[in-house]
């Protein structure tokens, strides 16, 4: 389980950054989730599904706990925007990755979240529904709206 959790750390951190808007807070959230998972291994039931969506749900819940404590559910947009426009990053792929980061920061948290779960973490629709606790039938339409919003944000950034 430890090995699997370590492999999930990077993806979980990416999701937590999108929810909390801060890499350090996100690392704390993932670390807390590790502690939860390791201290109560019985909480995960392999018969109910893979570890990845379960662990991402633990991380997500932890992020919301932190946001509640902050009393501020809106992620400060600027904190998500990486200052990545450095001259060294002249490669097209790097620039594209920067643009994606900036565009993600400009869309709503729930849209950011579902795009990251599907396109970055490669979860199936059923797994996304499990993580977000929503009806499986609503995942496709939500994801589509989120992608259109991201596309629009990218186009706005590009202008």
């Amino acid at each position: 389980m430890r090995q699997e959790l370590a492999q999930l750390g990077g993806g979980a951190h990416a999701l937590a950054i999108q929810l909390l808007g801060n890499a350090d807070d996100a690392a704390d959230a993932v670390h807390d989730a590790f502690e939860t998972a390791l201290s109560r291994p019985d909480a995960y039931d392999a018969a109910k599904g893979p570890l990845k969506p379960w662990f991402l749900r633990v991380v997500r819940n932890r992020c919301f706990d932190m946001l509640r404590r902050r009393r501020d559910s809106d992620v400060p947009v600027d904190s998500l925007i990486d200052s990545c426009a450095t001259p060294d990053e002249a490669l097209d792929t790097a620039q594209r990755a920067c643009a994606i980061n900036q565009a993600l920061a400009r869309i709503a948290t729930e849209k950011r979240e579902i795009v990251v779960l599907r396109d970055y973490l490669d979860l199936s629709y059923a797994e996304i529904a499990d993580v977000l606790r929503i009806a499986p039938g609503t995942v496709m339409s939500r994801l589509h709206r989120a992608r259109l919003a991201l596309k629009e944000a990218l186009n706005t950034d590009g202008k």
């Binding site: 951190h13 590790f34 990755a97 496709m140 339409s141 589509h144 992608r147």
Partner: protein
Amino acid sequence: MASKNRTIGDHVGALLSGYIDGELTQQEGQRVELHCDACADCRQELGDLRALRDDVGNARLSEMGEDVWREKMDDTTVRVSRGIGWLLFIGGILIAAGMAIYEFIIDSSIEPWVKFLFAAIYGGLALLFLSVLRQRLLERKTDKYRDVEI
């Protein structure tokens, strides 16, 4: 023109996302393919969404790799074992102190006023210690710079 494009795009709408994710039934997939064969706007939208999905997949949204997380988990083990160590230590001290206090109270060879005097001194010290400990713990909990290494 824009509204016309939107209307055509809406013909298959969210199914475009389901299609690129491989989440449609065979029938739905065929519907998307047939529609895209006839509709240049939806074909374009499909290509854009595919490119977008690949771009998000290739983006680097976290800088922390597997090794970092493994180290952090090891830290967790150290922290847990340290916590257990402290628990045993404090538990032992409390039991020993309780026994000593009990012996002190039931010892009839000591005058009551001496017992009261010692109880006041040690009780006062214990209260002072607890007060300082509480303050330190509160500071530690709320100090956002506690992990900053100088």
